[in-house]
């Protein structure tokens, strides 16, 4: 299975086996990380699953939609690598994707 690398807010890094077809948010949540609120459950209606995608591993990640971009604009912690993890459907092409959980707003 392809690997997803998750960095938590304290800087700890862990490799998990990513389930293809689920979102990155679901993969993170299902592996027992407790830092992602993912309040709306993945319907792109909040911004509580905010992560930073390591640019070196972001090649296969599809671009940000307008709605996602608008939601991210509401976060003080936004930077150029910001994504909502519920909007990235994990695929085999994303093997080695490295994401860092963004601070809480």
């Amino acid at each position: 299975m392809p690997i997803l690398i998750v960095v938590t807010r304290d800087g700890a890094e862990r490799e998990i086996e990513g389930r293809v077809g689920l979102s990155v948010m679901e993969n993170i949540r299902d592996q027992g990380f407790d830092e992602l609120q993912a309040l709306c459950g993945g319907s792109c209606s909040c911004a509580t699953c905010h992560v930073y995608v390591d640019p070196a591993s972001a090649g296969s990640v599809p671009p940000t939609s307008e709605d996602e971009n608008d939601l991210l604009c509401g976060s003080d912690a936004r930077n150029e690598t910001s994504r909502l993890s519920c909007q990235i459907r994990f695929s085999t092409a994303m093997d080695g994707l490295r994401v860092t959980i963004a601070p809480e707003d």
Binding site: D34, E35, C40
Partner: protein, 408 residues
């Protein structure tokens, strides 16, 4: 008798988030979490959306994987309802006769779907949408169902109607008020959703009161309206709100009524007992100081955070702006603030474009926005609500000017 430092009653967003946050904040005491349903904590909003549509199975709407709770040393016991609270002895009793002692009780029991009370209310083929089991029962009957009558034009009823009509059913929505969403939104939003549902083929009956459910061989066949009309139906879906689960606490002497009254730290009038989520009534600065229950995920998470922080030593209560969402067809509604008590609505953008917002004012201040396919307004409007901005109506209605430029 088992003694726990903290007992959490309820496994919805509020209860689960309290347990999660306590452990996240390194709370070292024992935590027992009791759930009435047999399922581990899961998200309720998809029950009238993706889960009803069959697009997401249960394991994709679990709040955390099943093993998570044991790993965090949360003793999760399911399938029992707390029926008695003794605030003096600090004990609770469940419907299966178990007694548990607590130091601190967090009551996050939510509510139950409000049932019909009219003649025929107990016929087969009548469904609620509150629990996973409810929706599984409903879905199991869908294959033999052509006509569905949805009673209640609130969010749950309308979301269900959207899914069912998309699944090829003939759907009639019966609403007692003269518009849908009458309790939660302003008229421009109601009228927009009425047009949408009708254009998707939903037969919408407004100002229609149900007088009974007609049945044959113990099964519902039609909804009878008070004007004598019968709406034929193979299935009836009831979405008329919830009854908050407050009886055991009221019986124990807690102050409250429709909800359990709580202070800013979500403390009830009983020592050692907090109440949060759908069943808690709190004074809201976003509702002009009115005490109210807010049925939303955001409120559940917020109040869980207040209690979780309070029980681990933080005194301040951070109160965020209320938010909601509803998905119907390809329409994403995002709400910020509470429109309750508004005295004016301003439409921003054109509803016919299927992307617009309704801005709610009270005494000239922006108190809420309903944003339909208008995420930018939702994000930028939050600050207007948080600050109670006063902005001229012609500026608010001009969708070409971003809201953030108005708040500057």
């Amino acid at each position: 008798m088992q003694h726990s430092d903290i007992i959490i009653v309820g496994t919805g967003h509020a209860g689960a988030q309290t347990a999660l946050l306590l452990r996240q904040r390194h709370y070292a005491g024992s935590i027992l979490m009791l759930g009435e349903e047999a399922d581990p904590p899961y998200e309720r909003p998809p029950l009238s959306k993706d889960y009803l549509a069959g697009e997401k199975p249960l394991d994709r709407i679990l709040l955390r994987p099943v093993a998570f709770w044991a790993e965090r040393e949360v003793d999760l016991r399911l399938g029992r309802r707390v029926v008695v609270v003794d605030p003096i002895l600090r004990q609770i009793r469940t419907d299966n006769g178990e007694v548990y002692a607590y130091e601190t009780l967090v009551w996050a029991a939510g509510g139950h779907a409000r049932p019909l009370s009219c003649p025929g209310h107990d016929l087969a083929g009548i469904h609620m949408i509150r629990t996973r089991v409810d929706v599984d029962r409903l879905r199991a009957e869908l294959p033999g169902t052509d006509r569905v009558a949805v009673i209640g034009g609130g969010y749950v009823g309308l979301e269900a109607a959207a899914i069912l009509v998309k699944a090829g059913k003939q759907v009639t929505v019966i609403e007692a008020q003269d518009r849908v969403l009458a309790h939660v939104a302003g008229e421009p939003l109601s009228r927009f959703y009425e047009r949408e549902h009708r254009s998707h083929g939903v037969d919408l009956r407004l100002g229609a009161t149900v007088s009974g459910i007609v049945g044959r061989d113990g099964r519902a066949t039609a909804v009878k309206l008070s004007d004598g009309t019968e709406v034929p139906a193979d299935m009836v879906v009831v979405g008329i709100g919830i009854v908050p689960a407050v009886e055991p606490l009221l019986a124990a002497g807690a102050t409250g009524g429709n909800g359990i009254d709580v202070d800013g730290l979500c403390r009830t009038s009983l020592a050692g007992i907090h109440a949060i989520g759908d069943c808690a009534a709190q004074v809201s600065t976003y509702a002009d100081g009115t005490r109210l229950r807010i049925e939303s995920v955001q409120n559940a998470m917020e109040q869980a955070a207040i209690v979780g922080r309070h029980l681990t030593g933080a005194e301040e209560a951070v109160v965020g702006v209320p938010t909601f969402w509803s998905n119907q067809y390809d329409l994403r509604l995002q709400t910020v603030g509470l429109s309750l008590g508004h005295d004016r609505t301003i439409v921003r953008g054109r509803p016919t474009d299927r992307s617009f917002s309704v801005v709610y004012l009270r005494r000239g201040k922006v108190i809420a926005l309903d944003c339909v396919n208008a995420t930018r307004d939702f994000v930028q409007g939050k600050n207007l609500v948080a600050t109670g901005a006063r902005i001229a109506s012609d500026q608010l209605s001009d969708a070409t000017v971003p809201l953030k430029e108005l708040s500057a």
